[in-house]
């Protein structure tokens, strides 16, 4: 089979599974709702303060919530030895990786779309900068989290207590991406600086790590 049919088939299967079970999305939604509520009443920020801290809060909430989706990406394929079957099949590894990464991108973007109104309500947010620029920041930032997250979820499959391992491997590497997302969001919300540098940095991060993941994924998939 060629590249795109495999990607599409795997992606459709994952989306359909998630649509029917809603395991990941429910857990992610409830988790980030808790983060929103707890931080909101522990800080009770004014509109001015929340513009400064919201960027960090939003992305920390999404980062931790994304771990839920990322952890179940490959764990699902361990049941009935699906992953082993994939490994012995002649299909190349990269379409599988891309399908999983796109699947996670969709799940986390849906979460973000649902959570954004709540953030606006609880933190009285109103962007002073160009608000539409939050869309490329969200897209690039989420891809930065899920591309490495999907990759390292496959790595952490081969470890003890794998659910804990994923954040341990992913967070240190994600620091530049997180810094860029948070600073870009804060720059847009406060309208004091241009977020362009941070968006360019996110783009560079995405390109570098997407290429690295595609080059090394087969090695990781084949590792016992």
């Amino acid at each position: 089979m060629s590249f795109f049919p495999i990607t599409r088939a795997t992606l459709m299967k994952d989306v359909r599974l998630e649509w029917r079970s809603k395991d990941a999305i429910n857990a992610m939604l409830f988790f980030s709702l808790l983060v929103v509520v707890i931080f909101s009443f522990s800080f009770d920020p004014t509109a001015e303060e929340s513009r400064r801290i919201a960027g960090g809060l939003v992305w920390v909430a999404f980062l931790f919530a994304a771990i839920v989706a990322l952890n179940q990406t490959w764990a699902r394929e361990l049941r009935n030895q699906v992953l082993d079957a994939y490994r012995v099949s002649p299909a190349p590894a990269n379409p599988l990786f891309l399908a999983k990464a796109f699947g996670n991108l969709i799940f986390v973007m849906v979460l973000e779309a649902l959570m954004t109104p709540l953030f606006i309500v609880f933190y009285k947010l109103r962007a002073l900068g160009p608000g539409w620029e939050l869309i490329p920041v969200a897209l690039l930032g989420t891809w930065a989290l899920v591309v490495n997250g999907t990759f390292f979820a496959a790595v952490s499959l081969r470890t003890r207590s794998r659910e804990i391992m994923l954040p341990l491997l992913l967070f240190p590497l994600s620091i530049p991406a997180l810094l860029a997302m948070v600073n870009a969001t804060t720059a847009i919300l406060t309208g004091e600086q241009s977020p362009q540098f941070w968006i360019a940095l996110l783009l560079a991060y995405d390109v570098v790590f997407t290429v690295a993941c595609l080059l090394l994924f087969e090695t990781v998939l084949e590792a016992e």
Binding site: I175, P176, L179, F197, V208, A223
Partner: protein
């Protein structure tokens, strides 16, 4: 081999004691900072040694990914372990110096942040090696090392934006360092490099022996399946 090891051990001990004397007594006292500046003779050589070891780890990991040689894997493991130790020394001595001189323990300056992120990445590298249940731990670790190396320039650019507070590098265009201080610094670096080499060597031999024992045990259990 064993003789070389003993010679290196003696040289390291002598060099370390001479470097300690030079750093605490031989080197001139800094005019504005006073004696607290002397921690610099431990801080900077540790940092250089740690970065060198992380570089060795990266090269060894790439060699492992290409050639799959066990030696490269052991070199990668050993350099990461010893590198984390030296990096820890850097991260501890830095704030001790910064508190009296800058008035703060920590700041998100470019070199501080980069060192901290490197430390975090290599700790996660060691955690992966320890927690892995795979028979190809080396492979997964080598992949992580490559990702970590790719991360470094991105971390650098992400902080490059801010004004840097760290004293500018003493080598290159800095040029304001007293030649006697530079002399002491280089002696200390030589001593630290010898120490790192000694520890890495010991650890390398230990790891080789450990793998030989594991292999022998595996062979034994294959030969005597009834026991």
């Amino acid at each position: 081999m064993k003789r070389g090891f003993s010679i290196l051990a003696v040289v390291t001990a002598l060099l370390l004691s001479f470097a300690l004397y030079e750093a605490l007594i031989g080197a001139p006292t800094e005019r504005t900072m006073g004696d607290v500046q002397r921690i610099f003779y431990y801080h900077v050589p540790s940092a250089w040694t740690a970065f060198l070891l992380f570089l060795i780890n990266f090269v060894a990991s790439v060699v492992y990914l290409v050639r799959r040689s066990a030696e490269a894997d052991i070199v990668a493991l050993v350099s990461a372990e010893v590198g984390v130790v030296f990096c820890t020394v850097v991260l501890i001595t830095g704030p001790i110096w910064a508190r009296p001189v800058w008035g703060i323990w920590w700041t998100w300056d470019i070199r501080l942040t980069l060192t901290l992120v490197l430390w975090l990445i290599y700790v996660s590298y060691l955690v992966l090696r320890r927690f892995s249940t795979s028979s190809q731990t080396s492979l997964l670790a080598a992949v992580l090392a490559v990702f970590g190396a790719l991360d470094v320039p991105l971390v650098y650019f992400s902080i490059w934006f801010f004004r840097t507070q760290h004293p500018s590098p003493v080598m290159g265009d800095g040029g304001s360092l007293d030649p006697r201080m530079l002399h002491v610094l280089l002696i200390n670096w030589a001593a630290f490099l010898c120490l790192a080499w000694l520890v890495c060597w010991t650890r390398y031999r230990l790891e080789v022996l450990k793998r030989e024992v594991e292999e022998a045990q595996a062979m034994e259990s294959l030969l005597e399946p009834t026991r």
